[in-house]
Amino acid sequence: MAEYKGVLICGELIEGRLTGISKELLGIGRKLADDLGEELSILLMGSDLSNAAREAIACGANKVYIAAQPLLDNYHCDACTEVATNLCREIAPSVFLLGQTDMGRDIAPRIAARLKVALAVDCVELRIEPDTKLLIQTRPVYGGNALAEVVSVTHPQMATVRAKSMSPLEPDESRQGESIPVKVEVDIETMKIKLVERIKQPIEGVKLEDADAVVAGGAGIGSAGNFAMLEELAKLLKGAVGASRVPCQEGWVSQSIEIGQTGKIVTPNIYIAIGISGAVQHIAGCLGSKCIVAVNKDPDANIFKVADFGIVADYKEALPAFTEKCKEIIG
C-alpha cells in the first residue's frame, strides 16, 4: 500500500479554536506518524482558520488543510462528509482519524462507506505494528465488557477516537508547518438536509466534561427534587452534576448530562457515584477518573468493583453528613 502515506486528522473547532479532542487526536497522530516515518496533517473546515491552524502546528501537525468556507462554520453533516471524503481521495492518507464526537459519529461511517473501507469506532488505543506498518486499533465492545483489538486491511485505515483516551502534546510555538488551501465545492443550498433550528442547552457553572469533580446520581436518587442535594455538593467541590441513564430517561435531569457509553465521557479527579449500580455501559464513561467514590445501599452493587472508596448506606442519610464534613474540611 505504498501509495497511501501519512496520518490525517479531522479537526473540530469551537469559536475558532481547536477542541480538546482535536488536540488529543494530534497527540496520538504525531506518535503514529513518527512510528511510520511520515507526516501528520489536519483538516480544518470553516472561516477564520488562521488561529486554529497555528494551534494545530504547535500541537504537532506538519500540514494544515484549510477548507475555508463560511458556510461550514455551522456544522453540516452532508457538507463535511463531502469535503473530508474528497480530501482523502486527493491526498490518500494511510491513517485517517476523527473524534468519537457528534461530527465523528455522523461523518466517519459515511466517509468509510464512500471509500469502501473499514472503520473502527470509539478506539481507546492505537499503535502501529512495526512489521506490517498497519494500525492496530483497540476499542471497547459489548458495552465495555470486552476490549477488541482489530486491524483494518483497507486504506485509509479509519478510526474514531474516544475523548480523553489520548494525551495532547504540550503546544510548542516554535514548531513549523505549512497551510494548504483545499477547494470546497459544496453548495449547502443543494444539500438535501436542511437545518431548521439548533437548540443548545445553556450550561450553568462548570462544564461536565471539563469538571475536576463530578457528582453523579442514578436511579437510587428517586426524584428530580433530590438532585438538589447533589448540586449542593458539586458546587462545594467546584464540580458538576452528572447522571446515569435512568434519571435522564425519567426526565429528572437533562439528557445532556448522561455519563456513559452513549453519553459523556468524564475523567475528573474525583467521581462520586450515588445510587448508581455500576452497569458496564455507565462505567464506560467514568473509568478514566482518578478516584471513584461510591455511595450505594447494596453492598453487592457492581459499582464497588470499580470504586476506590465506598460507603454502604442510604444516600439520604449519608450525603448531608458528607457534604457537611466536606464544608468543614474545605473551609
Binding site: A113, R114, I193, D308, K325, C326
Partner: protein
C-alpha cells in the same frame, strides 16, 4: 400511507450481569451465557417503536428485516408482536465488526423489498456498538441519513427530525426516501400485548438466502479482506474498593470525607 423498513439485530442481552460475561480466548468469541435469552438490540427495538408511532400518526406499512442465524427469526417475531406488519430473515452469519458487509446485505434486502420511503435503524447495536450500518445503507442507496434522533415526524413527502447533539438538539428537514437512526431518547419501546404475540406467531416469516437477494460475496470480499479481529478480551478493572465504616450512615459519610482528604482527593 408510507412504507417503512426497520432493520433489527438479535444480540446477547447487553444488560446481563457482568459476572456472566465470558470470552473463549481460543475462538475470540463471547460464550453465550446459559439461561439468558437473546434479545432484540434495544436501540433497534426503539426503531420499531418509532415506526409504530408514525404508523399511528399517519398510517404506514412496517416491514422488519434482520440478517443473522435462523434463530434471528425471534427478533422479527418480537417486532411483529409489537405491531410491525411483515418480517424477513436473511440467513447469513456475519462477524459483528464487519459493518460494511452487514450494511451491504441489508441494502440488497431493502432493494428486494422495493417499496420504501423511510428506513429506520437503531443508532448502534448494543454488542459491537459500531453505529455505522444505517449510514452505510443510506450511502449505498444514495439517500439522505440523519443519525441519532429523538423524534421523527412525517410531513407529506418530507421528514422533520430532532437530531441529538452534545449540548442540545437540532431540528432538521429532509426529503424521503431517507434513513433515520434512533437513540434511546425516542422513548421506551412498547411491550407486546398477548394478542400481538398470538398474531405474530401466526404470521409467515420468509427466510431469504444471499442468492435470493443477489448478494455476491466475491464482489465485496470476505471480512478478512477489510478488517481482522486479533483479540477479544476482558479488561481488568478491579480497583480494590476500600469500604469506609461507621456506626451510622452519617458517621460513615463523615469518615469517608476525612479519608478522601487524607488521600488528597478533596
Amino acid at each position: 400511507m408510507i412504507n417503512i423498513i426497520v432493520c433489527v439485530k438479535q444480540i446477547l442481552d447487553p444488560e446481563m450481569p457482568p459476572g456472566k460475561f465470558k470470552i473463549d480466548p481460543e475462538s475470540n468469541k463471547v460464550i453465550p451465557p446459559e439461561g439468558i435469552p437473546l434479545v432484540v438490540s434495544p436501540f433497534d427495538e426503539q426503531a420499531v417503536e418509532a415506526a409504530l408511532r408514525i404508523k399511528e400518526q399517519c398510517g404506514a406499512k412496517i416491514t422488519v428485516v434482520t440478517v443473522g442465524e435462523s434463530s434471528a427469526v425471534n427478533a422479527v417475531k418480537h417486532s411483529l408482536a409489537m405491531g410491525a406488519d411483515e418480517g424477513i430473515v436473511v440467513e447469513h452469519i456475519i462477524e459483528g465488526y464487519d459493518s460494511l458487509l452487514t450494511a451491504y446485505i441489508l441494502t440488497k434486502a431493502i432493494e428486494e423489498i422495493v417499496a420504501y420511503d423511510l428506513i429506520i435503524c437503531g443508532r448502534e447495536a448494543a454488542d459491537w456498538g459500531s453505529g455505522q450500518v444505517g449510514s452505510i445503507i443510506a450511502e449505498s442507496l444514495g439517500i439522505p441519513v440523519v443519525a441519532r434522533t429523538r423524534k421523527i415526524e412525517v410531513m407529506d413527502s418530507r421528514l422533520k427530525v430532532e437530531h441529538i447533539i452534545e449540548d442540545g438538539d437540532e431540528s432538521l428537514e429532509l426529503p424521503m426516501p431517507a434513513v433515520i437512526t434512533v437513540s434511546y431518547e425516542i422513548g421506551q419501546a412498547r411491550i407486546p400485548t398477548g394478542w400481538g404475540v398470538i398474531s405474530a406467531a401466526r404470521k409467515k416469516i420468509p427466510s431469504w438466502s444471499l442468492e435470493d437477494i443477489g448478494v455476491d460475496l466475491s464482489q465485496i470480499g470476505d471480512t478478512s479482506s477489510r478488517i481482522k479481529l486479533l483479540k477479544l478480551f476482558t479488561p481488568t478493572r478491579e480497583r480494590g474498593c476500600q469500604i469506609i465504616e461507621g456506626k451510622t450512615a452519617a458517621e460513615a459519610a463523615a469518615n469517608l470525607a476525612l479519608r478522601l482528604r487524607e488521600a488528597k482527593v478533596i
